[in-house]
Amino acid sequence: MIQASNISHFYGSEQVLFNLSFEVKSGEFLFLSGESGSGKSTLLSILSTLLKPSSGELLLDGKAVESMKDMDYFRQSKIGFVFQFHYLINYLSVYENIALAAMDDKKQNINKILDELGILELSSRYPNEISGGQRQRVAVARALVNEPKIIFADEPTGSLDSKNSTIVYELLQDAQKKGTTVVVASHDMQIQNYATKIIRLKDGQIL
């Protein structure tokens, strides 16, 4: 599902990733671990197409990202994102935030997903009217709505307590069990319990 070959990245003159190569198979749960500054968030951004690598080649679902013609469609249909700070749009309701991400033929899934995640009653509320844990569940719902092939999550539980963290991990594991590839970058070693593959980074290199 993901093939990374010799991925390197620079911020200005500072190199943060050094020739990283690895493969993630379809349906795997990859845990990218490492300390702050190890490069795991940068690597996750590159793997999820949100950042162009300085060099190297990345294949997602068998397609080379660099030469991909319709990146927007690929992102919307094949990839789901969960960020640390949920990044919901504050002037859209919970339902509208998910509808914004949903493809036309997936919009009928919204209420079902909200129901499965236990937040259906929040659908008309705005992000500033719900708790942090509820916002992160909305972010997960938004990532799942298009039934993507890969979900990328960057510190998805960074701002949550342990109870809400477990809920988010279980939601991601449920998605993985249904065949979705899940890639999570986090400090939280609790994810080891859910991961099928772990890549440890230190100073931009795989240990």
């Binding site: 951004s45 949100l50 002037y91």
Partner: protein, 357 residues
């Protein structure tokens, strides 16, 4: 739909943008209109009652012009001349009013000033414009240390006249030490005006004779007013428009995180720019309309503000209104869409992180 939700969900921010655009557009309207109004009032004053104007040769301003009033007798005898009148224009403090226009005219021109009360002035008397008359409760006024009885009050559509004083030309001649500032001539035959101009020019070497149309076009004072009005309006316009572009640009920059999220969710650059286009269009169009209504209201009120004596009037032409509309929309869209287009080309994660910073 998203565009309107963004406007409604952030009422304070939207109000700030709306107010900034409204104030910028109003500044453009009011400065341009008042400058145009000054020229409009003076040209109307001259254009209303004559086809030909005679001034002193080589004098750029009617305030300093001195024409021999006895010339009128010779002019009246020319073929195709229906009437002529002479006028002295000056300005002086009157009582507690620091400055007011003074119009000395021959008796045959008094009927130009429509009396709302009293009688036309005899020697030693004056009539006051309605605006100016509200400032005086006395029966006489003092002009340049001379007392004049107030014989009546007149009204005029022209602001300069509404805030001024009309007197007999003999009295005005004594005040300003001249015979006449200019003589205005009306013709019974519009096709003969050029011929009359030539004939009057031949009567006297120290005069300049022009049709009133040409005079207005060539009058140096108008050129000065027009040029300074153009510079002031241009600066107001440029500052206003730059203000609009800056506000929109700052707003777009503060929303980079939102654009980054949309790009991460697979929304195209076109989707982001399209929504921002409608958001900016709705905001700037409504602010423009609001500014237009407020400006028209203020311009309608200006002539009635006693303190201004009716001297400050504004003319807002359709051409100016359309020009400002197009420029406002262009600058607002440029200010919002250009940074949005640049942002849309940036990697989404960088936009999200910039938004966080």
């Amino acid at each position: 739909m998203i565009a309107f939700k963004a406007i409604c969900k952030n009422p304070f921010k939207s109000l700030l943008i709306f107010s900034s655009i409204t104030i910028a557009v109003m500044a453009i309207f009011l400065i341009s209109s008042v400058s145009q109004g000054v020229i409009g009032m003076y040209s109307k004053m001259i254009k209303t009652d004559g086809d030909i104007i005679i001034t002193q040769k080589g004098i750029s301003d009617t305030f300093f012009s001195n024409v021999d009033i006895s010339l009128m007798d010779k002019i009246d005898k020319l073929e195709h001349v229906s009437s002529s009148y002479a006028m002295i224009v000056g300005a002086s403090p009157i009582g507690h009013i620091p400055i007011a226009g003074i119009y000395g005219t021959t008796a045959n021109h008094f009927s130009h000033y429509k009396l709302s009360s009293g009688d036309y002035p005899k020697e030693g008397e004056v009539i006051l414009g309605e605006n100016l008359s509200k400032q005086f409760k006395t029966k006489s006024i003092n002009i340049a240390n001379k007392n004049f009885e107030i014989s009546g009050v007149y009204r005029s559509e022209i602001g300069f006249e509404e805030g001024g004083v009309v007197m007999n030309i003999t009295d005005a001649g004594r005040l300003f030490n001249r015979s006449a500032s200019f003589i205005l001539v009306s013709s019974s035959s519009p096709n003969e005006i050029d011929g009359i101009v030539q004939k009057i020019s031949n009567l006297e070497s120290e005069i300049e004779v022009k049709t009133t149309q040409n005079f207005i076009k060539e009058y140096n004072q108008f050129k000065i007013i027009e040029n300074s009005s153009f510079v002031i309006s241009f600066l107001a316009f440029a500052m206003g428009l730059m203000g609009i572009a800056s506000v929109m640009s700052m707003i777009v920059n503060s929303r980079k995180e939102e654009f980054g999220i949309m790009r991460a969710l697979g929304k195209s650059r076109f989707f982001i720019i399209k929504n921002l286009f409608f958001e900016t269009l709705a905001m700037s169009l409504s602010a423009y309309l609001f500014a237009l209504i407020l400006s028209l209201g203020i311009l309608a009120l200006l002539p009635h503000i006693e303190m201004l004596q009716g001297y400050v009037n504004g003319t807002l032409s359709l051409a100016t209104a359309l020009y400002v509309l197009v420029s406002t929309l262009f600058m607002a869209l440029l200010g919002s869409l250009f940074p949005a287009w640049i942002a849309s080309k940036t990697d989404p994660i960088l936009l999200i992180n910039q938004g966080c910073a």
